[in-house]
Symmetry: C2
Subunit: 372 residues, 2 copies
Amino acid sequence: MNFSFDLHKESCDCKARLGTIHTPHGDIETPVFMPVGTKATVKTMTSGELEEMNTQIILGNTYHLHLRPGHDLVKEAGGLHGFMQWHRPILTDSGGFQVFSLGALRKITEEGVKFRNHIDGSEMFLTPESSMEIQEALGADIIMCFDECAPYPADYEYIKNSMERTTRWAKRCKEAHIREDQALFGIVQGGMYRDLREISARDLVDLDFPGYAVGGLSVGEPLSVMNEVLDYTVPMLPRNKPRYLMGVGSPDYLFEAVIRGIDMADCVLPTRIARNGTAMTSQGRVVIKNASYKRDFTPLDPECDCPVCKTYSRAYIRHLFNTDEILGLRLTTIHNLNFLIKLMEKIREAIKDDCLMEFKDDFYRKYGYNVS
Amino acid sequence: MNFSFDLHKESCDCKARLGTIHTPHGDIETPVFMPVGTKATVKTMTSGELEEMNTQIILGNTYHLHLRPGHDLVKEAGGLHGFMQWHRPILTDSGGFQVFSLGALRKITEEGVKFRNHIDGSEMFLTPESSMEIQEALGADIIMCFDECAPYPADYEYIKNSMERTTRWAKRCKEAHIREDQALFGIVQGGMYRDLREISARDLVDLDFPGYAVGGLSVGEPLSVMNEVLDYTVPMLPRNKPRYLMGVGSPDYLFEAVIRGIDMADCVLPTRIARNGTAMTSQGRVVIKNASYKRDFTPLDPECDCPVCKTYSRAYIRHLFNTDEILGLRLTTIHNLNFLIKLMEKIREAIKDDCLMEFKDDFYRKYGYNVS
């Protein structure tokens, strides 16, 4: 198994950590933000462009790739790495999140989840075993146990049953998973209930996965609730293994997660808001369609040195959005991903220099967040 | 006036020519194909990517840029060059073609054309003088006289009146045009009538423009008709000035134009069919959505060395089109533009080596065109 995690440093003023994850497709410096490439493409971007901006690892979505083009075809193409010509690490989710999002279209049993897919409505069945089979075909470096991401809010009984089933499914995933060159992560569930998180973490740690995700967060709860759950959940996880917070990608959520000991996070947010014309900048969000940018010939973010900010003006990008030009979506996407990747680099620097909390307060002030 | 044309060579077996156009933003080796950047962007492409593929000159559309973002704003941004950050030559059309395409929405008088624009339907008026004013604000290196591109087919009287008015408008354009760093081209009209083309060419040559376009072709007529018109029209134009055929961009039309003495051509075809999933390749067109490419892990064009063909497979690009991913549009666009730009490079090589007709026959055979 060529997967391991080196913990280099723990902050003195918070729980942030500095580490390196070793995978068959290279190393990942943590804390890391992972752009999402749902259907074998980070929307609008080539793999070469992602490399140029120092993207260390990307995500693929098992559910979508299973439907189109099909995991067999991806396997034939040399796995996701060969298919999309991305030669650095990849993580695939389990398919669970998308399947559970289908709401009324799916039915959960102990065996797995029966659902009608969103493309042609035909009935499909996903189980811990089939999720492993698909993820092995996709060939990511890190793969995830098939879990239920429970809704928020949900009552204690629902979350308890769901969490216990997720743990039983995790055991089945571990038994079904064969490929030695993939690290299978467990996912801690338990909603916003501390005792359920404790049981989930304890049972999954017993199964000795090479890494752990905290699931069921960033599902609509306030940031303070997420922080509270992380405050008690992260310390239940092994110190010497990477910790992955699923579905988080705004600067404040990333900061709050990192200072609570999270090493990895992913989210469609930076790329999705980019395509709606919103840029993340050092001074907060810029909604590029606003009339105030019509004759603004400065860059999206004057403090940014990404290829977009070095070249194009707000007025030009605004024009592209107003005239439905694809280049507009590309430019804001490139900028937002650069912004988050650079932010994580600065966060790693700050951990190294023992000044993360200071850096966070400075960032919050400029971005327009409340400084607690 | 820093615009000039050097004629290096004329073919012995056809009328093809090798030349260099000198402009304030650099030189252009001819014959040249010019990608179209309607709204200050060659759709899906950054200016940097266009440079990397050795694009020598691009087009901008006066009508579209006048409407959005407005030529005043573009002027403030440093002209089209500054606005879109493209530092090589640009040519703008006169706005006439788009205005005449509006059909029932426009009314032609001696003074100019009254029309309702396609964005908000408000009434606008375009004249030779306002076309010059807009094109001067846009700041292209080569600008075009305001002309009527008459429909096909059209009767003799209509074409005669239209052509004569176009010539009167050309005089007004010449008088209105001030900027010394822009070359104003005349446009020969006259439909498919030899005597009208003769009158048009004679009168425009008298006005001594630094370059001439052949307009009113590629409007739905068969290739044989275009060839016939070029056969008699091109020799009416001065040998020592560049000749531009408007609206031509398929390989066969480009070959036929070049061997008849055309130096420049433009068309949305390569970028438009790219976005529909059609690639131009050395073996003819590839319609990437076809089921036969589902498991085809070879490049779009095995003989192409563009960044797309060096990296991605037909199966991957097909998947991107099937899942509506923007990257698909980008990859076929990059490939098609590369294909035409490389084709023009090879055509220039063949003229130099006195083997253009041979090269053309070889190309036609492989591409699937009839060899005449």
